[in-house]
Symmetry: C2
Subunit: 137 residues, 2 copies
DNA sequence: CTCTCTGCAAAATTTTTGCACTGCT
DNA sequence: AGCAGTGCAAAAATTTTGCAGAGAG
């Protein structure tokens, strides 16, 4: 990591507050790709005055400075992920959990798609759906 | 097409109403992957009494009988597509339009991912993002 | 003629915004 | 001390639901 979250906030003109650090750390500490509400509930015990509005405002900043990614698997709300390395996601159609998929992107296919559609593609998000190991039993 | 929309509705115990046919036909007639609101506005002139609730209820039925797909590119609302063949989507980050991508899925990679994650994968949704030909000029 | 469907309005959800007070720098 | 940030509550936006009257089978 070349630049930590504190420096990054400061360098972008944002103040460093306990809430912002707590939200980012909570996101880093989990693999469950929580929604805003989930983060809020998880932080309530430690930060009793924390509000949902602050969670959303902080998420917005973290998005802007590129420290988190937003997922949308087709649920009614967004999920967030502090893992910003190139990876995809798989969601269990039974229990709803979301796991990571580390699989390299096929660059040849990408070129073909660019030619086919006329788009200059800068990003891709892949969502797989199926039954997780636990729900398969 | 082995079974048309009228038969399919009837065979699944749903009544065939002008609203349902209109919504499905509107979806078939467009390539722009509209949201519920867009469909509603488009149908207003022809069906002045059409309500947004009916659009949502009909979309729900069409989803259940497998006649439409739901897309979510990370916008605040869902988009719908009557093209249920296996294909993916690309969205322009400038103008927001959504186009189709017809590119075969790499089955080998899929097997690898199943082994890696322990999931039995039944579906995948791929969203590409970039600048469309028009916005690239 | 029955029973589902429609359409209105109200409710539920998720996310955003306004504003006085707090607290980072 | 100055000014952005927090937290509350209210607003906005999307989707769902309840119910009385309309219409398909």
């Amino acid at each position: 990591m070349t630049e930590n979250i504190t420096e990054l906030l400061r360098n972008n003109g944002y103040k460093v507050t306990p809430q912002r650090l707590a939200i980012y750390e909570a996101l880093c500490a989990t693999k469950e790709h929580p929604k805003a509400e989930t983060l809020f509930v998880k932080l309530q015990p430690t930060y009793p005055t924390m509000s949902l509005a602050t969670v959303y405002k902080t998420i917005d900043i973290l998005k802007k400075i590129g420290k988190i990614r937003v997922l949308n698997t087709g649920e009614d709300s967004f999920r967030y992920d502090a893992d910003i390395t190139s990876h995809h996601h798989v969601q269990c159609t039974v229990c709803g959990r979301v796991d990571d998929v580390y699989e390299a992107v096929d660059q040849k296919a990408l070129k073909k798609i660019e030619k086919q559609t006329g788009y200059t593609i800068t990003e891709q998000r892949v969502y797989f759906f199926g039954k997780c190991a636990k729900c398969n039993k």
